[in-house]
């Protein structure tokens, strides 16, 4: 297992390094002068040019600039936002909470619902339930997440008026305590439903196909031949074997979920990192944009390594490698 983990951690470090290089080179490769990009306007004042040149070492050779860039990052300095002149790190940290709330809850819900439906479909393979669920999984897989969000707003907020259209809290009531929690949950329903619905097909399909695959393994025949009851075979042996692929997909799925969450935040004006990123794009706030991208890449890489570690712990075939 040590070898496997060392390899995965190495890949993770490489991912972070490559993200840094991409981040760094994008600023230098993008059309126009990096100073203009970093200043956020086309004709920055001489004073500004001087500060930026000094700060990013823009007059030095490119590799020195890169080392300089890494050094500042290691100090925890992600630069300053052009819009608000505040540290990028601080701006991002303020928005992490709402994004995590949306992302984590939806992942857990989709994992549980999708896997349960997939197992049911696999056990009733070829039944009406299986066919309908398969059809729905195709349909939701083909649905753009932002459009699904809009349609939910159209039906449940605009026409039926059951849920609020946007935001995380009702700004008019300024509620506190429990009332505030309920208010947030109320606002959470539609965005959460959207992000969950787009993830369910993923887990559904993996669970369905891996249950079917496991059921056709030779060891199932051994247990049957020995007279073990179908339910026991399923609960004890099929389930654990079939759930393993879900763990790996969970890791791969993460980047996809985060990008989905980012778009849904924009649709529902949810005050998280996705919305912050969009503002950064529209205001051409490059230090902020780069900061967000870097943070996302690093955290996704870290999460995927954690998932790999978990997988290695569950699967003895890797544990003893």
């Amino acid at each position: 297992m040590a070898r496997y983990l060392r390899k995965r951690v190495l890949t993770g470090i490489l991912v972070i390094l490559v993200s840094l290089i991409i981040n760094f080179s994008l600023i230098h490769l993008a059309p126009g002068n990096p100073i203009n990009l970093l200043a956020g306007k086309d004709n920055p004042s001489q004073e500004m040019i001087d500060t930026l040149t000094k700060k990013y070492g823009l007059d030095k050779p490119i590799y020195v600039q890169f080392i300089h860039y890494i050094k500042t990052l290691l100090k925890g300095d992600l630069g300053y936002s052009i819009m608000s002149n505040e540290p990028v790190g601080k701006l991002i940290l303020e928005k992490v909470g709402p994004t995590l709330l949306l992302a984590l809850t939806s992942i857990i819900l989709a994992l549980v619902i999708g896997t349960a439906l997939g197992i049911l479909a696999a056990r009733k393979r070829g039944s009406k339930f299986d066919i309908v669920m398969n059809g729905l999984s195709y349909l939701f897989d083909s649905t753009p997440n932002f459009w699904l969000g809009l349609m939910l707003i159209l039906i449940f907020a605009s026409k039926l008026k059951v849920f609020p259209t946007a935001g995380m809290v009702d700004l008019r009531t300024q509620s506190e305590g429990i009332a505030k929690v309920i208010d947030i949950l109320w606002h959470l329903v539609l965005p959460l439903t959207t992000v969950t619905l787009i993830q369910i097909p993923y887990y559904f399909r993996i669970a369905r196909s891996s249950v079917i695959q496991t059921m056709s393994e030779d060891f199932i025949t051994t247990f049957r031949a020995a007279g073990m009851k179908e339910n026991r075979i399923f609960n004890k042996y099929v389930f654990k074997n079939a759930i393993l692929p879900t763990v790996t997909v969970f890791g791969i799925n993460l980047a996809y979920v985060i990008s989905g969450v980012a778009i849904i935040e924009i649709v529902f004006a949810w005050p998280g990192m996705g919305r912050l990123m969009m503002t950064a794009i529209s205001k051409r706030d490059y230090p902020l944009l780069m900061g967000i991208y870097l943070l996302l890449s690093v955290s996704i890489a870290v999460c995927m390594i954690v998932v790999d570690v978990v997988y290695a712990i569950i699967d003895p075939r890797i544990r003893y490698d």
Binding site: D218, A225, N241
Partner: protein, 320 residues
């Protein structure tokens, strides 16, 4: 004493587009402590026949006929009644022993789990002791108990499968190509051990193999199958020394002789017929070197010759 008696058993695999007649009207008996080897090329129906005995065929397979095990018709038992009989009376060892247990559960715990199906009252220490005894019986170290299948070699896993099948002292073991995947030396060792255990535990055995020499060395009787038919059945020495069916003769020519001078090795030209199409005459007619006009239109009857020997050939009654 008869232990198992198969009477007119047929198996049809049904699908939307065609029905494949995989086993056709097969009958033979197995005595207590007997050993019968079923040989034939792949697709001859030998594995289907064995899996049908344990009701392990997929749902689209229709089994007809009678399978009398100690005078109970296995085909008429309910699922629960049949589950009680599985492993306690009849157990099986599969070919792909590497995949015969779940890869992510420990071998000992799976064996214990299988043990408790038919002996729920035993406490866990008792079960563990019993499993460890079984492992020792098949010459495996006791640490196998806490190991996972992928940590064992093919030969060791095959021993685990054999230990598993002997767990409840069954009266009959089916070995479905159980040693085919092993190297020659391990195969020889395991076959010898099986022979000893059988004597000790008084077990009857059905051995399915495409390898005539394995069957000749380890079984008392031999059943030759071709395209779903039992074409020849009898004592090993009778069949090997004096094969009566042209297919058996061909099969024997394709293996090096066990003793005596080496003759020419020859394979049987042609292929198995398509079993989803009804045929006329003898099933072996396309490949038979001795066929005559009668074989094209008249399906051969099964002739019973000396020593309970059966031959399904138009010329078996007379001289051939």
């Amino acid at each position: 004493m008869k232990l198992l008696s198969i009477k007119n058993e047929s198996v049809v695999y049904r699908s939307k587009t065609k029905n494949v007649l995989a086993v056709n009207n097969v009958s033979f008996d197995i005595d207590k402590q007997d050993s019968v080897g079923i040989v034939g090329e792949s697709g001859s129906g030998k594995s289907t026949l064995a899996l049908a005995l344990l009701k392990l065929l997929p749902k689209n397979a229709d089994v007809t006929g009678e399978v009398l095990f100690e005078d109970k018709d296995l085909l008429k038992l309910s699922t629960d009644e049949f589950n009680d009989l599985r492993w306690k009376e009849i157990s099986i060892v599969f070919q792909k022993s590497m995949n015969s247990l779940s890869p992510i559960h420990r071998i000992g715990s799976q064996m214990a789990d299988i043990y408790t199906i038919h002996d729920g009252s035993a406490d866990s220490d008792e079960v563990k002791g019993k499993i460890i005894n079984l492992l020792e019986m098949v010459n495996l170290p006791t640490r196998v108990y806490t190991m996972y299948p992928h940590e064992l070699s093919g030969g060791m896993m095959q021993r685990v499968s054999i230990a598993l099948s002997l767990m409840h002292n069954p009266k009959l073991i089916i070995m479905d190509e159980a040693t085919t995947a092993l190297d020659v030396i391990t195969q020889g060792q395991i076959l010898n051990e099986i022979a000893e255990l059988e004597k000790k535990l008084k077990i009857a055995r059905i051995m399915i193999s495409h390898d005539m020499s394995v069957v000749a060395n380890t079984c008392r009787k031999i059943a030759v199958m071709y395209a779903g038919y039992l074409v020849e059945f009898g004592l090993v020495e009778d069949v090997i020394l004096n094969p009566k069916h042209p297919y058996t003769k061909g099969l024997l020519k394709s293996f090096p002789p066990l003793k005596g001078e080496k003759g020419e090795l020859r394979s049987i030209p042609g292929y198995l017929p398509d079993l989803s199409i009804p045929h006329e005459g003898c099933i072996f007619k396309d490949r038979c070197p001795q066929k005559e006009n009668i074989c094209l239109y008249t399906a051969p009857k099964t002739h019973i010759v000396e020593n309970g020997r059966k031959v399904m050939c138009n010329f078996a009654g007379g001289d051939c």
